[in-house]
Amino acid sequence: MISLNDEVKLLRQIPYFGRIDAFKLKLLAFTSSRACYEGGQIVFHQGDASDAAYVVLRGTAEIVAMAPGGETSLGEATAGTMFGELCLVSDAPRLSTVRALTALELLRIPRDSFLRLVADNPRMSAEVSRALAEAIRDKAASLARQLARVPQRLS
């Protein structure tokens, strides 16, 4: 069984939280809840209201974008990675669907708890902004790469 302290260790590995005090992370973990899914179950759908970010504790999840033509895989999330974090800065609906590939155990960080914690810790705010920006840049880059491949597939 993964305890709160293990969760904190895992959170530390995530870029956003790397430089945040351990006890702050513990508070974040404490205010978060555990969510378990079985292989094939949907964590959230594209277009759902977004209210929480998730950290994978165990198992693998698949992130897919639903398009009229079918679905495109945007990648996988494995133990120690975070997804759905865009909701932490914007309340726009989910941009993608996340499905459990294996038995999946997640830490569900509610948006409200997260924002509250950030508001209390200005330094954390800067950290998170930086990490988020990087994450978005990475995603944009990977999207660009994927787009670059599309014409070849179409032809």
Binding site: M1, S3, N5, F30, S33, R34
Partner: protein
Amino acid sequence: MDKNLLRYIWRHTRSQQIWILAIVLVSMIPYFAAFDLPKQIINGPIQGQGFESPDARALFMAFDFSIPLTGWNMSFDGIELDRMSMLMALSAVFLLLVIVNGLFKFYINTYKGRLGERLLRRIRYELVDRVLRFPPSAMKQVNGAEVSTMVKDEVEPFGGFTGDAFVQPALLGGQASAALFFIFLQNVWLGLIAAVMVAIQVGIIPKMRRRLIDLGRQRQITARHLAGKVGEIVEGIDTIHAYDTTNFERADIAHRLGQIYRIRFELYQWKFIVKFFNNFLSQLTPFLFYSIGGYFALRGSLDVGQLVAVINAYKDLPGPLKELIDWDQARQDVQVKYEQVLEQFELPHLIEADRHALSAATPAFGLGPLVAANITVTDGAGAKVIEGVSVKIERGETVAVIDNTGSGGEALAEAFGRLVWPLAGKVTLGDADLLELPESVTGRAITYVSVSSYFFHGSVKDNLLYGLKHAPTSTVSYSGREAATRRWEIQEAQLAGNASFDLNADWIDRRSTSIMRGFSDDLKQSVLRALDAVQLTSDVMELALHSHVDPEENPVIAERAVKMRHALREALQREGLGHIVAHFDPTAYNPEATVAENLLFAATRKGAAHETDVADTPYVHEVLQRAGLSDLLFDMGLTIAENLVEIFADLPPEHPFFQQLERLSAEDIAGYQQFLQKRKTRAGQTVTEEERRGIVRLSLHYIEPRYRFGVLTAQIMDQVVAARDLFYENLPADLRDRIERYDPHRYMAAATLRENVLFGKLSHRVPDAAANIRRIAGRIMDEMGMRDSLMGLGLEFDVGSGGRRLTVTQRHKLSLARALVRRSDYYIFNRALPGLDRRIQEEIVRNVIDFLREQDNNPSVIWVLSNTSLSRLFHRVIVFDRGTVVEDDTFEALDKESGIFKSLVA
């Protein structure tokens, strides 16, 4: 009602008053006879007057009575008796007189009491009857709490006064004049003195009491306003708290109480001043007798014997006189009260009594059009809300009414609903004026709903069926003792001028439900479909699931709930969802429940507010000690405390994260922090029992999947499960009533229906557990045919005073459902759904129209809309602007034009 209370009493109790007066007069004979008898016994047989020789005999009961002038004469020669027999005979007569007097007194008092109570009942009924007939404009000024205190408290003294209203003055007046007359007989001059003094007393004392009466009036009005204010505080408590005006209200109440105190104290002062003066005056007369009479006696111009006789005769005067003055005081007092009450109830334009005549006949549904002809309506301030409005609503129309500026639409709806009476013009139904038709026609042909529709204390069902309770539809046939009771009820009601309708009869009019296909379940279908239409069904179901069912009252539901428990468990297993509920298993630890819940393994009844949680009682700690768990849980608690302190110690006390801890506050955390520091600095120090329990308490409320501190070991879990039996071995009596052990095969009365069905804890780790359970449980419920009985249970939920136990939205929906249950020709919804989500509003409006159009009586729907975009659901649209109709056409036509409507909807 008469202006004068005495006249009112006389009118309603004339014959009884004469009867009781006659009885009182008759009762005087044995009363005075009993006065004279002791003297006869003592003088005669005891002291031997008339029995001078040992064998002397006297006549018993001999009398010779002749009525003067008529020459009519009756006499009895008597029985000759010796001394001892005479004593016994006279004593027996004395005893007989005592009994006869007692019986007279008993009869007179109960008779008077009954007279008073009946009159009280009559007045109260008449007042409430008047409230029911108040014109709507007057109702706006009425304070409910004031009216209730008038009906309940202010008229109360009338009852006590009624019995004495005429008997007392007649009797006392007679006694006083007799005494005065006797004084005159003895000596005319002394009689004159006494008469003058009486005149002064009778003249002055009531004048002095004027102030008392004035104060009494003030007291009555201030007390009434106090009652009104207290009622307002209770009604407006939410607003008071919201605006932090509790101290303003305190000041207001204190001020009023101060005023009442001042009035009451002055009342006391006056009362005793008057009393003093009255006593003084009545003692002044003997002073005059002694001094003036004595003077003349000494001078020889007055016979001493005469003086003594006068003084003796005077003894009987002040008593009746004082009581007479008191009676007058009481009379004035109740008269003032009566006037004060009457003033509030004597209103012009009361609704005629015949408009409210009971009519059990099925109303003639299918009346002609509802027409407002050139009506003008004013608001409370007298400003015209609509002026010269003419609208005709035909049967079967669906009409949306929209306000651009002003509130003309609402006013029109109110006029249709008879909530306001038009100042000019009239509203007609068929061809008759709405205000001249009896309510048994208008109140059934027209159904009016607004936000302010009221809910009565009772169940959801009572309120839903309220709109059908026009008249008793059955007659109950009573037998034996009940029949006698019912006869008595009717007789008494009639004697007090009350209505004698039978409340036990079935008042639900089953012939005017909205769904009427001639089946026996029309009523039930109407209710269920109405709830569906306003989307209240799931709420009612929730109420049922939340309720505690007494298995003795509802054995079927309890039994089925247990069956459902097993069916739900199986269904979850089948669907591979077994993990979303941790079921209560007598032999296993339930990881989703707290340690304490695992130890008790029982449903606990919520005790009174002051009772501590069962888990915090000393007995629990005692059991832990015996089970050898105390130290384990203490160590576990220490780790929990360390973790909590680490997480929460740096947060300011008001931080919202503290809400995450259900049972702990910032102070608790600080307390644990201090304790841990103390232990660190001074190791080995003894821990007090209180501190120990504080730490153990942390463990008792610990749930591993929720807190995830990883402190709950397998050993602790096993020992807790093992300690369950130990816990029940010596359970103290006070806990025994509050605890009901979990048994997979039994219904637990201490738990809600939902807990009984679930019989476990939802997993903290499955986010959609609740939704899944609801889905599967709903399916099982239908399979087992439990939906109806659960709906029945939910409908029994008590809505509280004014429906306050329901949410505002539920109330609005229920108000709509109540209207839909009954069959009417015209349904008027006056902004009936405020504050709802637009989407839900649209769904409900659509459902309601569909539901009503489905019925076979072709009803019209008139809906004053706040959400103008919903007007597309109606055939016709009427647009009001500044109190006049500016557009009135079909929706399609208005939609094409570019008028006000278009700009409103766009």
